[in-house]
Amino acid sequence: MTKVLDVSGLKTHFFTRAGVVKAVDGVDFSVSKGEIMGLVGESGSGKSITGFSVLGLIDPPGRIVDGSIKFNGQELANAGEEQFQRLRGNRISMIFQDPMMTLNPVLRVDTQMIEAILAHENVTRQAAWERSRDALGLVGIPSPEERLRAYPHQLSGGMRQRVAIATAFLNQPDLIIADEPTTALDVTIQAQIIYEAQQLTKRTGTAMVWITHDLAVVAGLVDRISVMYAGRIVEQGGIDDVIDRPRHPYTVGLLGSVPTANRRGKRLFQIEGMTPNVLDMPKGCAFGPRCHARTEACREEPAIEDVDGRRLRCFNPQRQAEVVS
């Protein structure tokens, strides 16, 4: 399969007055055509910054300090604003978390969608309007002609997110980065949105990076998963491998923290402690201080290695039996 996006050794640091925040500190992953890759982690693990880096949306004091982002063979890590402007919305699209915030409240849906097409292509307004209408139809919006005339405040949250997804797919991009697109929606709508996204990637062959903190969401959606912790990927592999047989203690902990129906009355598993202070990372393994399986070896920084058909950054790979004592 051809790699649409190939990120290697990506480091995005923020040079703040208080010190250097290594938000993304050496991340490697790739996404192929038609593939959905889940990027999972807690708040502050650097997953969103990774997404923004790909789109060149890192504002000062942040900056990509190292690594490469290859998009269809084109290097983006040091690309200029003009190059990005041609790609954004055209070859790479983004779907944001809160659909209440991402549509301009004073412009009608049709204005915003047509604009997204005309920014990249020289077609008539009529053609752009027809494409917008068809795109809305594809994401399951009933009577798209009327929705096109609506203002964002007249649409529900789920409807707005569908509009956002339709807009992202408008120019048939090669890659879509979805930053927690279902977090602000309730579960029934979540399921519908995930279904639509899956269908669209299948149909168009668009590659997708789905950023989320919700393992339940990725389990049924993505093909491969990368678990991030403190700016690095700690475990990466096929979704079934990682979800069914997690090896990294952090992944084990995350999966253990998902409330399930048969646990009623039992205390829910919790990963001890908090995500580390970004300005004061622990020495050695960043997850070390919170890890239930830490040993002397963890004072050193573990490298990412191929273990058991996946990439893993840990000295003490877990067995399923050891989960949650």
């Binding site: 954004r88 549509l103 004073v106 412009l107 997204a116 920014a119 009933p142 005339r149």
Partner: protein, 306 residues
Amino acid sequence: MTDMTAATPATPDAAKVETPFQRFRSEFFESRVATFALATFGVIVLLAVLAPWITPQNPYDLAQVDVMDGRLAPGSEAFAGYTMWLGSDGAGRDLYSAILYGLRISLAVGLASGVIALLVGTVIGLVAAYAGGRIEAIIMRIVDLQLSFPASLVALMLVAALGKGVDKIILALVVAQWAYYARTVRGTALVERGKEYVEAAQCLGISKARIVFRHILPNCMAPLIVVGTVQTASAISLEATLSFLGVGLPQTEPSLGVLIANGFEYMLSGRYWISVFPGLALLFTVVSINLVGDHLRDVLNPRMRK
């Protein structure tokens, strides 16, 4: 207002889709004071526009003015045969006619300078907000500097330097007022720029200029409209002040301020009408605009909505 579904069935039909403007209009007319003020202002504008057709005299056509009619009390009959309901001034001009002609000039000057200052200030404010950094710092320090002087002082100095004339006083008013708009727009634009829809627009590859003028600017309109109305009213009274002081418009282009100044010397001799009636006209104009502006602020500010 997000909750349209409560009022309309699951699929609202196209005809009922309410634009933000329609919603704004229906909310505005809920207030009787504001409706009344707007109506008053409408009547004033109408009177000013129709002045040549509804006045008995063109007070600045010397052939029509008779010095023998000078300082007649309200209700007197002019030499030409018509009744001077508001009396006449020292030169024999019918005050009713003079006030309507004066309104024309006052409104024209006020609106023109308001619109120009709004355009200039908006563009400068948007540039400051979007450019950021040094450009923003320089622009905003100039704005601060200017706002630390009273607007009337700035205008007074400029008019003194430029001389009399409609164009010059408009220029002076624009210079005295653009900073208010620039500061308002920059403040709102900074807030809007940080919102996600701007980032989303960037992600769609939309050009910077388009984001600023098509996405950010319309979202800054609410405070801009409010400041615009209030500043227009203050431009009208500022112009009257300058004209009253004798540095504004010349006698040949008489605004309300000029008329008030003309009657000022007769006040103590009991001929109150020469100053008072133009003064009342000015008062009604400015108060009605301000009332409309106040209510606009209430309607356009979501925090003050019931």
